[in-house]
Structures are given as structure tokens and as C-alpha cells.
């Protein structure tokens, strides 16, 4: 039934939107925008390694993204200046990834597909991976939601309530790595951070609770996927960037609305 490439693209996009939106909310609340960037950029190195060793791209991307996320979160507890450090890690991992890919001359790979996504080429197998990963992430978040939210507010408060903030941080890190890996096919490593941040930011003015914000962010992301794919189909624009553009337009409307409401 999924033989229509547009339908597969839509389903793939919805799956990623569903998982990316709530994680994106945490990225916004915890001010980890650069953290998301670094994790996503590291994934290109994972892609290169997977191709070199003949592994599934998803596996390599998850592994390297996770490694990067763990490195960053363990460094962040040690008083490094995170802004600079993350900037260094985000861009150097991308550069190393690109160089690594260039060594793979005998493997014909379309670099652009990994940098900007190739959602129109999603196969039924890809759909399985994307939805499996997305549902895994959503399940993880629903399971740990209360603890994650408490830890996000204040780690010491979580400790006093008997939670372990480091474990919750690990849960988020794992979820982020999974989202990055499933999102590569849809928007590519360069635009994953946008898919995390923009829907969450667009949802903020309309939400009175954290749960509502995550839900609205998912709806915004899905709307952006649908609109972006539509534009891409009718005007032959690149699909991944079109999706992010659509999300950005929704964010602009949301900000305008908030401005009008605050002025009133």
C-alpha cells in the first residue's frame, strides 16, 4: 500500500515530526540548541563509517551521534565554556565526517542526500526504521516524562525527590541520538536542529503547559512536513529545506500572533 512515493514521504516526515517535536521542546527548555547541532553533525561521520564498513546507515549514525552526545553531556558537567566547546565539536565533527566520506570513492554516495535529506526516496524499509525509532523515542519520553521535566526544572530538586538527574540526562541524550538518526533521511544532518527547534518555538505562545507545548510542536512539525512536501512536489524544490522553510513560516506567524496578543 505504500508504493506511492509521496505517501511514503509524508509518513516518514510525520514519524520524524512526532519524535523530534517533544525532544525539541527539551532542547529549547534546557537551552541545548548547540547540543542538538553537534549531535546531528556528528551523525555524518557515523554515516561515513557505516558505509565504509558495510553497516546499516541507521546503526552508524545512532552510534556516533550517541557518542558525541555523551561526550558533550559529560564535558558539560565539568565547567567548560560550553558555547565555544560545542561550536568546536559541532563543526569539526561535520568536517571530519565530510572528509571521511571523501575517502569512500568506490562507494557511490550522494552526499547531498545525507546533508539535506532525501525524503522522496524513502523506502518501505526506511519507513519501518523511522517509525520504529520514532515510537521508541516517544515511548521513552512518555515513560520518563515526569522525571525529565523535574530534572529540567532543577537537578537538585530532582535529587531531593529521589531521582538521578544523570540518568534522566542519559535518557534525553539517547532519545536525541535516535531522533537524529531517523531524521537524516528526511531533512539531512544540516537541518535536523531546525526540525527540533522551530516547531517547539512556534508552539510556545499557544501552550499553557509543557505537555500541550510538546503536542502542539508535533502538530506544527507535521503541518510543516505536509506543506513542505506539497511545495516540493508542485515547485520542484528540495524537500528537506522546504519542510524547514514551512516550519519557519509557521514560527513567524506564531511570533506575530504573540506580538499582537501582547500589544492588546
Amino acid at each position: 500500500m505504500f508504493d506511492d512515493f509521496l505517501l511514503r514521504a509524508l509518513l516518514a516526515g510525520f514519524g520524524v515530526a512526532l519524535a523530534a517535536a517533544p525532544i525539541g521542546c527539551f532542547v529549547v527548555w534546557r537551552r541545548m540548541a548547540y547540543f542538538g547541532d553537534a549531535t546531528a553533525h556528528a551523525a555524518i561521520l557515523g554515516v561515513a563509517l557505516s558505509l565504509a564498513f558495510g553497516l546499516p546507515v541507521f546503526t552508524g549514525a545512532v552510534a556516533v551521534a550517541l557518542l558525541m552526545a555523551l561526550t558533550v553531556s559529560s564535558l558539560s558537567g565539568r565547567g567548560y565554556s560550553m558555547d565555544t566547546l560545542l561550536g568546536v565539536l559541532a563543526h569539526s565533527s561535520l568536517a571530519f565526517g565530510l572528509v571521511a566520506v571523501s575517502f569512500l570513492q568506490d562507494v557511490r554516495i550522494d552526499l547531498m542526500a545525507y546533508l539535506f535529506g532525501d525524503i522522496l526516496a524513502v523506502t518501505t524499509g526506511d519507513l519501518g526504521v523511522i517509525w520504529g525509532g520514532a515510537l521508541g523515542v516517544v515511548g521513552l519520553l512518555v515513560w520518563r516524562w515526569q522525571a525529565l521535566l523535574t530534572t529540567t526544572l532543577n537537578p537538585d530538586l530532582a535529587c531531593a525527590s529521589g531521582l538521578d538527574p544523570r540518568r534522566e540526562q542519559l535518557v534525553l541524550t539517547l532519545a536525541l541520538a535516535l531522533v537524529v538518526a531517523v531524521a537524516i533521511k528526511v531533512v539531512g544532518v544540516l537541518l535536523i536542529a531546525a526540525l527540533l527547534l522551530v516547531p517547539a518555538a512556534a508552539a510556545r505562545p499557544f501552550a499553557a503547559t509543557a505537555e500541550l507545548m510538546a503536542l502542539l510542536a508535533a502538530l506544527v512539525a507535521m503541518a510543516a512536513v505536509a506543506a513542505g512536501l506539497g511545495v516540493s512536489f508542485y515547485h520542484d524544490t528540495p524537500a528537506g529545506p522546504s519542510i524547514v522553510c514551512a516550519a519557519a513560516v509557521l514560527f513567524a506567524f506564531s511570533s506575530l500572533w504573540r506580538g499582537v496578543r501582547n500589544a492588546a
Binding site: 529549547v28 527548555w29 534546557r30 537551552r31 565547567g79 515526569q146 522525571a147 521535566l149 523535574t150 529540567t152 526544572l153 532543577n154 537537578p155 537538585d156 530538586l157 530532582a158 535529587c159 531531593a160 525527590s161 531521582l163 538527574p165 517547539a200 518555538a201 510556545r204 501552550a207 499553557a208 503547559t209 509543557a210 500541550l212 507545548m213
Partner: protein, 265 residues
Amino acid sequence: MSLISVTNLSVRLGAATVLSAVDFTIDRGEIVTIVGPNGSGKSTFLRCLIGALAPSTGQISRAPGLRIGYVPQKLAIDPTLPLTVGRFLSLPRRRKPSDVAAALDQAGVPHLEPRQTADLSGGQFQRVLLARALLENPDILILDEATQGLDQAGSAAFYHQIEMVRRTYGCAVLMVSHELHVVMAASDRVVCLNGHVCCQGTPELVASAPEYRALFGTGTKGALALYRHEHNHSHEAEGCTDPSHSQAHSNAPAHIHRQDEGQNV
């Protein structure tokens, strides 16, 4: 047995030794105040007690099943995170709305559930934090400079609330504070901390200890002067011209109470 007992606790953060050889116990129903200058390791000590920080050496033993109500020094909730007071009190354990309402009532801020945490004043938010701690039905309430950012009347009212809470819940209270004149008078025991325990005992004992005076001075300026005036003279004392004394008077219970009511309107 003690609620929490600490033996020979040392904490090193990086190259610095923040705490060394600290022994400490707190019993059921006791009010203990920790005083000490900035950087004396007060907050570090509390973070060890709640389990947020692992000691480098030494042992911390908590009574089995100990419930801690923790009121942090400050809680900066990112403005991008929408959160109502009611929802905040249901973290991390879900609470019944009736329990939430009762806790807010106890903390002196009834009916705040639907408000966004971002819209609260400093004093209101501190009381919401207290309400959240009370929902744990705590054996011990731990407050880390809980009145930082409140004015003198506001913090006096807050401590007044703490005393009422202790009477109701019968919990022990452990607090860290700079506001010695307000806090010490209400304490059963004061621990003077400066990397190690300098001295401890009843408020009167600590206030006259040479170690304490070395840290906080003996002159008329500073909080110690206020504190000692309160205790060395009765409030009926006539002809006192020391300006710091009248300062101390502004913290007298009758005044506090008026402020308290004013704030709740």
C-alpha cells in the same frame, strides 16, 4: 535515631577542598541553622545531604525511608517552559488536586494553581517551592538561603511561615541563611561553617563563640550586632539609640505579622 548523620565528610571540587572533616547530625523535629560566610561550603553541604553531590570522603547516613522536602536557593525556570503552579507541584509525583490545594494553603499562597510560574513574584514563588516541599510530607525540610531576593519584611514573613509549618508537620528544619538575626533566634541549634565546623550549639552559645566572632565580626555593623541586641536587651529596653537596634525591632513578630497579611492580599 537521627534523621541524617554525617561523619567526617570532605568534599573536593576540582583542586579546592570545599569541606573537610564535617560531623553533623539532625534529629526529628529539630530546627538547625547553618551560618557561614560566602564560599564556606554551606550549599555544597546541603547538596551532599540531598544526594546531589557525592562526598570525596566520609559518610552520610539517612534514616530509612527518609522523606526530604527541599527548597532550593533559587529556581530559574526558563521562560520557554510553560508551567502552571498546579502542574509544578505535581512533579515528579502526581498529586491529587485536593492535596495540592492544601499544600498551597499551608504555605500561605492559596488558589495559585492555575497561575503560570513565570508570573509569580519572588515571595510567592518561594512559598510555592515550600508548598512543593510540603507535598512530600517531609521528615525534614531543607532550605538553602530560601529568602534570597526577598526584602527583610518578606523574608521575616517567610520564616514565620516555616515555624507554623514545623508546628503543623512536626518535621525537622535545616536551613542555611545569611539573615542571622532573623533565623538564629528561631533555631534550636546553630552550626557555624567555614570549610569545617567552626563551632556549634545554641544560638546564644554560637553568637558568643570566638570562632563565630572571628568570622562575622564583633562591631556594631553586620548581622551579629542585630542578633546580639535582640538577645542582650529586652524589647522594652528604654533609651536605646543604636540605629541597628531599631532595625532589629522592625523584625519583631507583630510587625512581621502585618507584613505577612499584606503580602497575601
